[in-house]
Symmetry: C2
Amino acid sequence: MDLNQKFKDFVSSQDLYVPQLSVDCVIFGFHQNQLKVLLVKTAGVDIWALPGGFVEQNEGIDEAALHILKERTGLTDIYLEQFRTFGHVDRGNPEFMKDYLNNIGIEMPDNHWIFRRFISIGYYALVNFSLITPTPGEMTEASEWFDIKQLPQLAFDHNDIIEKALDTLKLMLDTRLNTMDRWAASLLPETFTMIDLQNLFETILETTFHRNNFHRKMVSLELLEKLEKKFTGASNRAPYLYRFKSRIADLT
Amino acid sequence: MDLNQKFKDFVSSQDLYVPQLSVDCVIFGFHQNQLKVLLVKTAGVDIWALPGGFVEQNEGIDEAALHILKERTGLTDIYLEQFRTFGHVDRGNPEFMKDYLNNIGIEMPDNHWIFRRFISIGYYALVNFSLITPTPGEMTEASEWFDIKQLPQLAFDHNDIIEKALDTLKLMLDTRLNTMDRWAASLLPETFTMIDLQNLFETILETTFHRNNFHRKMVSLELLEKLEKKFTGASNRAPYLYRFKSRIADLT
DNA sequence: TCAAAAGTGTTAAATGTACACCCATGG
DNA sequence: CCATGGGTGTACATTTAACACTTTTGA
């Protein structure tokens, strides 16, 4: 069933989705030493927003988030974590929904819940940048990666949501180094150099580390497997490539 | 407007609350070296549950949580933190609401949202045990402190919710020592001994610390003010009393 | 004066931080 | 053979962990 059809079902059945509830996903990617966020521009509304959606009556909220990610990225098996629910009374701009529905040619009664304040459950996802080609979906006219340092003004309180997602991500980097193979692997290609890994940490945490200390720390976790050297063509020593040990299990 | 009246308004107006959404509060207290949770038993339903409530259309979710805490504890100005939202498809037991509404003499149509799966936003609160006398409210026949180690079987997925709240609390203790004066103060009386503080940490984190190392660590944070000695009557050296420096500002 | 419990000091291990040096690579 | 940048070793500082000793209190 396509999304447009689902939307139209609002009129005949109010029972498809949980009213006034939505899920918003902050999809993080890492590319050229920049932390990126995937944003979408909804058809007929000239403002960028987080990819989001509603929760069906017969699905859990985690499943709803996975659905949205599947739609936007084509990927399943994504690193996904709920981080906070947003429900201030003044978080919505009701014009958004009016413009949007108007544009796709759907009429809804003024008192429908779609025009009310939404409670939105925030999830963040970590994905491999190079595996995703942002392509407009059925409901969106555009889909693009944005540098987290250069975000436009977003719909609703989505700027706040991203900020909170980033805070949570930073906290995880600091406190869950020992499970790095589960989340760092999601942001990096299968093989990478030690410098790549360091850049990832430095970019997200907005700090710098001493090369050798970082190197030793990572090796001491015993999560990495050293592979052959990577010859870049540059006139300097070739770095080793690494891979997370847990990846080997994934491949079998 | 009393709660019972509010409930009756469901019938005439479906617009008072956000449908299918609730807020559940895990209220932590500390007493006799035990971490306690305040639970309520709803009139006519023979099962303990977390104190919770609905979100009014014209209030934010944080405000809703504060309302619930005010109702249950009489306290305002409580340390409160949102930790997770629960929304599995099978989290509810529909019989609960039927029994409950039946008992308080309210009839609702079978297809009303009150009988559906709820999405529940979890908050945890830290309160001073001795300031609260659990008293049954209008909607509850009982209200009691339970040792976190000896919880009964609870309604819905409330056992899971408490477990997750405790996990989050532990994580905070580990990672936010420097803001201890904001949360530890909520669980302790205004003045306390160093051993009291140590017991609090050890109970929640389920570990033990060396007395002197703990002492030095706490002093080094410069959040504590040493007061006069506390003579307990025991035949040993009297411990000093301490108070969080930030408390002084509170008193002015 | 003794046991109990609190306060304080000292040392060793572990960890974190900074710097120095060595090695491979292509021009 | 030189500049560049990655790999590795070592010394120092800081933090953490463990233990020993001293002080105060009421019996």
